[in-house]
């Protein structure tokens, strides 16, 4: 894959003595949709957080769109402009309205004129079906609505890659579907490159091109969804799947 949009080579990371990422090699093609799963503490969140430098890796190389992530803050900011992220706890800005949350990045980072940024924000709010809430504050919305706003906020930056860090695991069960629907639409309607850390296996089967299983900081197994779920190769994968599919 010469034209990979994300390339991780021999990436290692430690928290103190704890080896959280071990020899990660991963290439992601443009438009590819990857679901990453694994037990708690396996390093899956850390892995995607290294891609936009919310976490620092200590060894190896991470190249995003031809730019290597180093300590150079300008490279990091350039990469963050192209890589959107959706968090488990939404991380919306509570002192700003929904609309202001969406236009903040475009206005200040991309220098988009305010009117244009607002028009685009409204377009994405329509898309996540929440346009009528534009003038409310995040604290006035439900969890599912907040997460949809967060997805729209990332989309407003026109990213080339979207990272999802357990986007549904802080939600009440009845709100999971509305968020997953938005993500499925995003995958089907646009050619967005997506890396999704989740245990939503239905979602994985539906949209993923590839499922990656991680355990103890290593990529143990990766395959197409059907092969991964129906014929897991590794013992640890089998054990994990038997635990999450009741």
């Amino acid at each position: 894959m010469a034209d990979a949009i994300i390339r991780m080579q021999e990436v290692n990371k430690w928290y103190g003595k704890f080896h959280v990422l071990r020899n990660i090699n991963l290439e992601v093609a443009p438009g590819e949709r990857i679901v990453i799963c694994g037990p708690s503490g396996s390093g899956k969140s850390t892995l995607i957080r290294c891609i936009n430098r919310l976490e620092e890796h200590q060894q190896g190389h991470i190249v995003v769109e031809g730019t290597e992530i180093t300590n150079d803050i300008r490279h990091v900011e350039a990469i963050r402009r192209d890589v959107g992220m959706v968090f488990q706890h939404f991380n919306l800005f509570p002192h700003l309205t929904v609309l202001q949350n969406l236009t903040l990045g475009p206005i200040w980072v991309l220098k988009t004129p305010k009117a244009e940024a607002e028009a685009r924000a409204m377009k994405y709010l329509e898309r996540v079906r929440i346009a009528e809430q534009a003038s409310k504050f995040p604290g006035q919305l439900s969890g599912g609505q907040q997460q949809r706003v967060a997805i729209a906020r990332s989309l407003c930056m026109d990213p080339k890659v979207m990272l999802f860090d357990e986007p549904t695991s802080a939600l009440d069960p009845e709100m999971v579907k509305e968020v997953l629907d938005v993500m499925v639409n995003l995958a089907e309607d646009t050619g967005m490159t997506m890396l999704v850390v989740t245990h939503e296996m239905g979602f994985a089967r539906k949209v993923a091109d590839r499922v990656i299983f991680m355990d103890r900081g290593e990529i143990i197994e990766q395959n197409t969804p059907d092969a991964f779920f129906d014929h897991p190769q590794n013992e640890r994968t089998k054990l994990f799947l038997s635990q999450i599919i009741h």
């Binding site: 350039a78 968090f87 200040w108 604290g139 906020r153 930056m157």
Partner: protein
């Protein structure tokens, strides 16, 4: 009194004041237990012992029309005539008597622009213009020397305008300095962090009085010969440096309350450190610390009275000057009550404003 243990299961205050409900209220609120009965009786006794005497002194037996100290000494209550007589000295110090309309106007300008700054509709660039105009106007009025106004050197300034100036500029400069220090103390760069920590701890370790003394007495010793910095300016700087250290720590408390996710949210959008700080972190952090911060503003306002120790004529010192007049001796209570009332009006306004600001800025959990 109202600490009755059974408060929770009683009915809310009755809207119709029938005799039964009033009696019920008294019984449950004031006499519900032996301890409550005792406290109620004690409070009633205390009120009976003090309130009538105070009303007598402040109002019934007081006079505002006495024309001389002799007449005043005949009344048993407060002699407010001394305020009538001395209010110009108390309010404006030793500013030339004929020119005292100038500090009055300057005070009104200053208060006006501060009030204007409190109105959200004016929170834009035009506010800077208003400030520039008000400050220029106040400076012209106070110093004079142009437009046919006689020049008045600032050693003759005094009273309320001086107190207001010291505290307005004190707050206006200490606040941003405090923000910078608070950010600096949380910086990842060791040099900046160390400087900020050392500054904050050093300043917090000494009383304001000693800083004022240092600014008045020590600083001139270290400055090269011929270079003098105005005494008033030195006191102002001392107040700013002092208040900034305290504000820094209060603001740091607010910064620490901002969850990590907010920084990550900003990072993931590609905001720079300063954008993130200005747009995401500070608005939330400052909102959290409005109550303690306004507490510091109020403390600063009152602490300006300490400039008396270096011979600057603020409101408190002007009041003391009014006391030494031989013919009006012995009316210190009236004068101190008067300036306390002035301090109270300003401090209470700040407090009320901060409460309304808190309510207006509350955006969380208001479903």
């Amino acid at each position: 009194m109202s600490v009755a243990p059974n408060v929770s299961n009683q009915v809310a205050a009755p809207s119709v004041w029938s005799r039964a409900s009033v009696l019920h209220w008294f019984r449950t609120q004031l006499f519900s237990s032996p301890l409550n009965t005792l406290l109620t009786l004690l409070t009633i006794w205390l009120l009976l012992a003090t309130v009538p005497a105070m009303v007598d002194w402040f109002v019934l037996n007081s006079t505002v029309t006495a024309s001389s100290a002799q007449e005043c000494r005949k009344v048993t209550g407060a002699c407010w005539s001394v305020i009538v007589e001395k209010h110009r000295l108390i309010l404006f110090g030793v500013y030339p008597y004929e020119e005292q309309w100038r500090p009055l106007l300057a005070t009104l300008l200053l208060v006006g622009v501060v009030l204007l700054s409190g109105v959200r509709r004016f929170w834009n660039r035009s506010l800077l213009l208003f400030w520039a105009l008000a400050l220029a106007g106040a400076a012209v009025l106070m110093w004079g020397g142009v437009f046919g106004l006689a020049y008045v050197e600032n050693s003759r300034w005094g009273g309320l305008p001086l107190t207001l100036m010291l505290s307005t500029f004190g707050i206006a400069f200490a606040f941003p300095l405090g923000i910078v220090l608070a950010l600096g103390r949380r910086s990842k760069m060791p040099a900046i962090k160390t400087i900020c920590v050392v500054y904050i701890e050093l300043i917090r370790g000494v009383p304001l009085i000693s800083l004022l003394f240092m600014s008045a007495v020590m600083l001139p010793l270290f400055l090269p010969e011929g270079l003098t910095v105005d005494k008033l300016l030195r006191a102002q700087v001392a107040i700013i440096l002092f208040a900034a250290a305290y504000m820094a720590e209060t603001i740091r408390g607010g910064l620490q309350a901002i969850p990590k996710g907010q920084y990550e949210g900003g990072d993931s959008l590609g905001l720079t450190y300063w954008q993130q700080t200005r747009l995401i972190v500070l608005p939330q952090a400052l909102k959290i610390v409005i109550p303690p911060l306004v507490g510091l503003f109020i403390a600063l306002f009152k602490d300006t009275s300490l400039v008396v120790v270096i011979g600057i004529f603020d409101l408190t010192q002007a009041a003391k000057a009014a006391l030494v007049d031989q013919t009006w001796r012995g009316f210190s209570i009236e004068i101190y009550v008067f300036i306390s009332a002035i301090y109270f009006v300003f401090c209470y306004s700040m407090s009320k404003y901060s409460q309304s600001l808190e309510k207006r800025l509350a955006t969380e959990h208001q479903r």
